[in-house]
């Protein structure tokens, strides 16, 4: 049941039912329906996470980065799932708060205003802290999901991640109406 509720959310205004499922086949991921208040983090915390993601996985002319694969929206989508436990949302929120504090302590500045070298030093320092390593690892795990899962879920747009790494998807790929939470 939890997954069904999730479906209703992630399909935006589409209603369930046979007509809804026909439309679902043509469904394209629409992250604009995400409501930040259900992710457990506020806009400032998401701005910080987005900035960290872009540092952890930067865009390059020949290789997609976090922002090219919708990494921030991906994580927001994951945390919007009603079946995800609140402890998971807390984990990301508390990690963001701790990093924000560390930035103020070390540089008297918010993380977003640091230059690339400062960000690198700060994140390495954060990695050495209790909890910092696990938090960064989780961010990286979800960036890999956004980069390399089937585009039907909203990451890896236009197969940009697969093409970069020359990955061939298996047969068959999931259509929109057979995404995992619809099974």
């Amino acid at each position: 049941m939890k997954r069904r509720r999730f479906l209703r959310w992630s399909m935006g205004s589409l209603l369930l039912g046979s007509a809804g499922l026909v439309e679902a086949r043509a469904w394209v991921p629409d992250f604009s329906a995400i409501r930040l208040d259900v992710t457990g983090l506020d806009a400032a915390q998401w701005a910080l996470i987005t900035s960290v993601q872009e540092h952890l996985f930067p865009s390059e002319p020949h290789a997609p980065g976090a922002k090219d694969v919708n990494a921030a929206q991906w994580l927001q989508w994951v945390l919007s799932d009603p079946s995800v436990e609140d402890t998971e949302r807390q984990f990301f929120r508390q990690g963001a708060e701790a990093l924000a504090r560390l930035s103020q302590k070390e540089h008297h500045k918010v993380f977003l205003s640091l230059n690339t070298g400062e960000k690198e030093d700060l994140l390495r320092k954060y990695e050495a802290e209790a909890g910092g390593h696990a938090w960064l690892r989780e961010l990286l795990n979800y960036i890999m999901e956004a980069l390399l899962t089937d585009p039907v879920y909203g990451g890896n747009p236009g197969q940009v991640g697969w093409q970069w790494l020359k990955h061939r998807p298996g047969y068959k790929r999931p259509p929109a109406d057979k995404r995992y939470f619809l099974l």
Binding site: E120, R137, L148, T149, Y153, K166, R173, K178
Partner: protein, 567 residues
């Protein structure tokens, strides 16, 4: 007294489906109860989120955890719940069970596996026992599986090849990746005997099933989109349903097998999709829920005459749990070592390597010790799931990789070569410290006790695992692979389960008789991998299928023979 069905089968996987098909064909009414949903071929996709990252085909571990006991450094046991851990002891909760998600590497047991005790003698600290049947008893059923389930391959003689009653497989071998012939050549030079691994995958269509779509290593963990893989669902159960005499009831979780004061089974009680308790009865009951769940069901099915659980007067239900022992290894063939054309062919990983070595199925190597049981080495592609492959590159020596350096690592891993894997299988010796029991306090969301699984292993598993993995590594080096490593581990592979209800002649030392009938209940059978007293050194599925067909033939005979002529 009239019963609802002739036979009630609990569990619809590799152990239950051969019984359902055989009995339905013989004219008997069969009910199959399956706790999971009935997913069809159209529901299976190569979807890494579904199979591997969100575990869609398994119950939510927060609702239904296992308590796992791992040995600590001082010989004690640390218990941890799987609710929020990386461990998952569930496999394929849907019609067809875990067979939907197998890789389908099919090896038969060998004659020596049926008489480990008499062949090699006792091993200190292990409960090794001979089987009450021989390879010759099971051989016709291995052969039947080749046609019923659909096994493709090519018979090649080698020193430890088991005898077989037909000259070759009913389906020709699948298309092979260039590494196959490289391994053949290397093996010849080293004096080893690589042979084609048979697969439960169709190389040409069969009624209702298409042939393989060639996704390479994607088979394991994902359901098949063409029905080429010989899952119990497409290969057996769908045929059983077509007879009109087999009903499959999904979303039916059996809570108890009910018994009366005289010790007779009066029915089974199950929870349906809406949470309601339902009852059904039959002349014969067949339990096939996979080793851990079967033990759990029997142990919780107490009754006036069975205070310790059903079929458990000996106290052996849940004991001698088997995983699969062994080692593993990997290496990479770098494209830069090959010409452009060759490199292009190597990069086409859709085809299968399908090579194995059994030169050390019995190890006669004085430098290793006295003559003893060894095992099987399979050569496979690294599973292509890209997220999991990428996530393995996120850390080096405890430090996280990120930024442009991480991106260069990913490019090298994915684009510069083909990653190969060694999977070495040896016996997981039955030991006192590998068993299933009911947790005394933790309950699942249904209010039933959760399983507590102790995962102790015999050091011999590790020794043989290291030995075999090193031989595999030697082969990888011989074909020019770089970054070759090999190792063994005592960690239990949670998808390879057997034991917990071993069969034998003596009711004091076994749970089931030679027909896999409970010694102490006339109409209760167990047909999943639970019956195995020792596991052999190959994946279990083919043996589970074969034995379930053997028991099914016994059941037809017991019920009065085939009724087909009279239908």
């Amino acid at each position: 007294m009239s019963q609802d069905y002739d036979v009630c089968v609990i569990g619809s996987g590799a152990g239950g489906s051969p019984v359902a098909l055989t009995l339905a064909r013989a004219g008997y009414s069969v009910l199959v109860l399956e706790r999971g949903p009935w997913l069809h071929t159209d529901d299976f996709y190569k979807d890494e989120l579904a199979c591997c990252l969100r575990d869609v085909y398994k119950p939510d571990r927060r609702d239904e955890p296992h308590i796992i006991e791992l040995e600590d450094d001082d010989g004690g046991w640390i218990a941890q719940s799987t609710a929020n851990s990386r461990w998952n002891f569930w496999n394929g909760n849907c019609v067809g069970g875990a067979s939907n998600f197998m890789s389908g590497f099919f090896h038969r047991l060998k004659p020596v596996d049926f008489r480990l005790l008499s062949e090699f003698g006792p091993i200190e600290g292990a409960n090794v026992a001979d089987w009450p049947i021989t390879y010759e008893d099971l051989e016709p059923y291995y052969t039947r599986v080749e046609t019923e389930v659909g096994v493709s391959g090519r018979v090649v003689s080698h020193p430890h090849a088991e005898p077989r009653s037909t000259p070759d497989f009913p389906y020709p071998p699948l298309q092979e990746h260039p590494v196959a012939s490289m391994l053949d050549k290397a093996g010849k030079e080293l004096g080893y005997h690589p042979f084609p691994t048979a697969r439960a995958i169709l190389s040409r269509p069969a009624p209702g099933r298409n042939s393989c779509a060639y996704n390479g290593g994607y088979c394991g963990s994902t359901g098949c989109s063409t029905a080429a893989k010989g899952s119990a669902r497409v290969a057996l159960l769908e045929k059983a349903v077509k007879t009109g005499r087999c009903e499959v009831r999904p979303h039916a979780l059996v809570k108890h097998i009910l018994t009366d004061a005289r010790g007779k089974i009066t029915g089974v009680e199950y929870i349906d999709r809406s949470g309601q308790l339902k009852q059904v009865d039959a002349r014969i009951y067949v339990v096939a829920c996979q080793a851990i769940e079967t033990a759990k069901l029997l142990l919780r099915s107490t009754g006036p005459k069975f205070p310790r659980g059903l079929a458990n007067s000996s106290g052996l239900v849940g004991k001698n749990l088997l995983f699969a022992g062994g080692g593993a290894g990997s290496g990479r063939l770098m494209y830069s070592k090959f010409g452009k054309d060759e490199a292009r062919k190597l990069a086409q990983t859709g085809f299968f390597i399908n090579r194995a070595l059994q030169d050390w199925y019995v190890i006669e190597d004085k430098s290793f010790g006295p003559r003893q049981k060894g095992g099987t080495i399979d050569f496979v592609h690294v599973h292509p799931s890209p997220v999991l492959r990428a996530q393995r590159q996120l850390e080096s020596n405890g430090r996280l990789n990120w930024g442009k350096p991480l991106k260069r690592i990913l490019e090298a891993q994915f684009r510069d070569g083909v990653s190969l894997k060694i999977e070495a299988f040896c016996d997981w010796l039955p030991v006192d410290d590998s068993f299933v029991s009911l947790d005394k306090s933790r309950k699942d969301k249904w209010g039933m006790p959760v399983a507590r699984v102790r995962t102790g292993y015999h050091v011999r598993n590790l020794q043989v695992g290291w030995y075999l993995a090193a031989k595999g590594a030697e082969m990888l080096k011989a074909i020019g692979a770089d970054e070759v490593i090999s190792f063994a581990s005592g960690a239990p592979p949670t998808n390879l389960l057997a034991g917990t209800c071993r069969f034998g002649h003596d009711p004091d030392t076994s749970v089931l008789d030679i027909h896999c009938r409970a010694h102490e209940l006339d109409n209760l059978y167990v047909t999943d991998g639970s019956f195995m007293p020792t596991g052999g050194s190959v994946p279990y599925t083919w043996t589970i299928y074969a034995n379930a067909f053997r028991v099914a033939d016994h059941l037809v005979e017991r019920l009065g023979g085939s009724r087909r002529e009279n239908l």
